[in-house]
Amino acid sequence: MEKLASIQSGMNPELEKIYYQTDTCVRCGRCTAVCPTYKATRKETMSARGRIFLARKYLEGSLPLSKTFALYNDLCLGCQACLEVCPPKIETDKLISLIKQDIIDKQGIPLDSKIMLKICSHPQAFHWIVRLLDFNKKAGIVHLLPHEFQNRANMFPAAPSKTFLEIIRAEPVKTGGGKLKVGYYPGCLTNALYPELGLAVIKVLQQHGCDVVVPNETVCCGLPHKAGGEHGEHRRLARKNIEFFFGQDVDYIVTNCGTCTRAFKEYIDIFEHDAQMAAKAKQFVEKSRDIMEFLTDIAGLTVGSKSMGGIRVTYHESCHLNRGLRVSKQPRKILESLPGATFVEMPRANWCCGGAGSFSFKHPDTARKILRQKMGDLQSTEAQVITAGCQGCMMQLSYGTREFGVKCIVKHPIELLALTY
């Protein structure tokens, strides 16, 4: 029998704590049954038990910090599917995040990551990049780009003619009914790529008697910066979002993206040295809701009477929404209540689509394998519409339908709900 090794001294205390948690991994392999990267590659290094084992060897000092080691950590989607089936509940996603931070501490933030985070800090720039890509696609110039870049360019949907905020600025939001004052945070992707979703959210909120307040600029939720190790920028963005909605004195803050709301919840412990800000952050976190949770659990769902005309609808679970926020029943409740629509469950609805933040851009080959399975599961439902509560997922799913020729359109459940009034 193996003697247990120990973690090297001088590691960060959080890593040390989670290292001893991984003592309980008996390598039973339950995680292999639910891990999307393992299913896609069938490689042990791509399973949670493999990642735990590698992390242990690294922390014990018997594996050096290599390019391959960094890559294998980066190939974890962070979807938390393993946590649900792990008998001793080892937080593999947290372990991987801490290891990634440890690598950043030692090697700094890589250049491609820095560029990406810069773009995220300036959503206006992001919007122009999408338009430029779109122009290139239409003009056929994309084909002149290197193959790798072409693939990534294809992941973006067509850019709308106007951003959400451009529309709202031209035609300010009318008051709703004064029942509740709701701050609506559209998020970068809704603004740049899905303005019609933003309008649908406002319409639905107003149908529920709410006054809606929208910020006049998009500020990133900061999740990419937190994951990428730019903690100062993360705090700056958080502060900006908190201050805006605080100034508006809203009852709730809703988003239509599981990832953004999940990111909001993480504002809770980032202002340790600023008591006043920490108190504001606490209130902000308590008021933050996903739109679907807000409608069904707080506002009381009101559905219109217009028929959807006999469509079949299915639902894909965003990991942040489902495992991060436990919002899973609410979207189904909305979809089941749509007049003239049939809701069908898709197999493995709660499996990650491979989008996972910047995962699909960084690791297109693995992401594609995961997406292929998702598209197969989608086709088995014969649904005409697939819905999801996160714009990252929506982008990835619509890329999948184009790439694999699946005749299905991608919507947010709220967009369908808005059509019933």
Binding site: C28, G29, T32, A33, R42, G50, L54, P87
Partner: protein, 456 residues
């Protein structure tokens, strides 16, 4: 040596199918046991030719080869204890044919057990062997280890379903044995020789398995006892009344408590033992069986009987049993599921002996298992960082098997020998038997390159 090995493998298999970086090798150094050893290379085969190529190189260089599926065995069966090649067959995972007329399925070794079961169920057919890791384990691994499961009491183990095999031998030759015939007495039965051989005789690339029609109905009953001896007695009594349940599982007090702490399976509290019983057959038949079983449980002083009202209720009851190992892993960092088997009527004696060992070493030995076939799993749960606890483990383990052997039992019912129980083999088998086994091994693998140091 290992550079040459990687070079030769890569020249035949291409770069993508040969792994050699330390990060990759590390992840093929373990299975679900407490042993570890690094291989020198990993081959991820996705066709028969890949397996042939790997074996050709191995034979040439006399390098050990460890065939591997999902590595969910808990006896060290897939640890490359002497280095060499780990030959991963998980990507050989196609179902080649479901033959509804002959009631067979032909598939590749890498398919996951539950996926095979689901596929045949869609055709109204039934592949009964149900190792508790069936959501993760591969069929190839099941055949290599002769995996069992709760249904063994009525339906037997993996061995009883293997009709034919395609095997790549140690020198790279491809052997086909058996087929779709339900009867076949021509020559020695080589097919069955490979079942349970733990990868020491050849590498599977295809298997033909027997199927059954799905039973029409199933009923589940859960029954609580204040005395574990009464529960054990009930098991023999049921069989004595010519009823063979499709599952007949016994859980002791501590197992019941730990499972309930892990998930609400609806098990009663403050009981010494619980029996979980499933009967299957035609609709009228299951009702009759469940009546007789209930009566027998009461005759043996059962305190409480609950019959599941529907499939959903039954599912929860069995989910509790399935989560047994998980529940124990949540209790202590390391769990060694021991696997002793005794003749069915010796079950009460075996349970008593396990309890005595638990008392002697002052360690809890949560025990559950397939009581219907005399197979019990006392679990040694301990913290490897606790020296006092860890030192007791090998002693407890050996005493459990001495107890089983003294009752005419065996040191393994369904988990296999691997590395974990090799030292116990001479206690069960005489030199005459072992000599014959060594002889067989030498015929198939004269250079001893196939999973060396395992099985016996």
């Amino acid at each position: 040596m290992s550079t040459r090995l990687v070079k030769e493998l890569t020249s035949l298999l291409g770069k993508d199918k040969v792994l050699y970086r330390p990060e990759d090798l590390t992840c093929y150094s373990y299975d679900c046991s407490n042993y570890q050893h690094m291989p020198d290379a990993v081959v991820t085969a996705d066709c028969r030719q890949d397996v042939v190529s790997a074996m050709t190189v191995a034979a040439k260089l006399k390098t050990p080869v460890v065939p591997r599926g999902s590595a969910t065995n808990n006896c060290g069966g897939t640890i490359p204890i002497q280095g060499g090649i780990v030959l991963d067959t998980l990507s050989l995972n196609k179902i080649l044919e479901i033959d509804k007329e002959n009631l067979t399925v032909t598939c590749q070794p890498g398919i996951i057990t539950v996926d095979l079961q689901t596929a045949v169920e869609k055709e109204g057919l039934f592949y009964p062997p149900d190792p508790q890791g069936l959501n993760m384990s591969s069929i190839g691994g099941n055949v290599a280890m002769d995996a069992g499961g709760p249904r063994a009491v009525k339906y037997g183990v993996t061995r009883n379903y293997v009709l034919g095999l395609e095997v790549v031998l140690a020198d790279g030759q491809v052997l086909r044995t058996g087929g779709k015939n339900t009867k076949d007495v021509s020559g020695y039965n080589l097919t069955q020789l490979f079942v349970g051989s733990e990868g020491t005789l050849g590498v599977f690339t295809e298997m033909t398995l027997k199927l059954l029609p799905q039973p029409e109905a199933r009923r589940t009953l859960i029954c609580a006892f204040d005395d574990i001896a009464d529960a054990s007695r009930t098991v023999t009594k049921i069989i004595d009344h010519k009823i063979v349940p499709s599952m007949l599982e016994l859980l002791d007090r501590i197992s019941v408590d730990l499972i309930q702490r892990f998930m609400d399976a609806g098990y009663p509290s403050d009981v010494e033992a619980v029996l979980l019983i499933e009967v299957d057959g035609s609709l009228t038949d299951v009702d009759k069986q469940i009546d007789v079983v209930s009566r027998l449980c009461l005759e043996c002083n059962a305190r409480e009987i609950k019959i599941a009202k529907n499939a959903a209720e039954a599912e929860v009851i069995w989910a509790g049993r399935k989560s047994g190992f998980a529940a124990l892993s949540a209790y202590k960092p390391t769990v060694l599921p021991e696997d002793a088997v005794v003749p069915r009527n010796k079950l009460p004696d075996m349970m008593a002996k396990v309890q005595a060992i638990s008392k002697k070493y002052d360690m809890l030995l949560p025990t559950f298992g397939h009581a219907g076939d005399g197979n019990v799993h006392p679990h040694i749960c301990f913290d490897p960082r606790n020296k006092e606890e860890a030192e007791k483990v090998p002693k407890i383990k050996d005493e459990i098997y001495q107890a089983a052997l003294s009752l005419g039992g065996s040191i393994s019912g369904e988990h296999g020998i691997g590395l974990a129980k090799r030292h116990l083999i001479p206690m069960q088998h005489r030199e005459l038997n072992l000599g014959l086994m060594r002889g067989i091994k030498a015929v198939f693998d004269p250079d001893n390159i196939l999973n060396p140091g395992k099985a016996f």
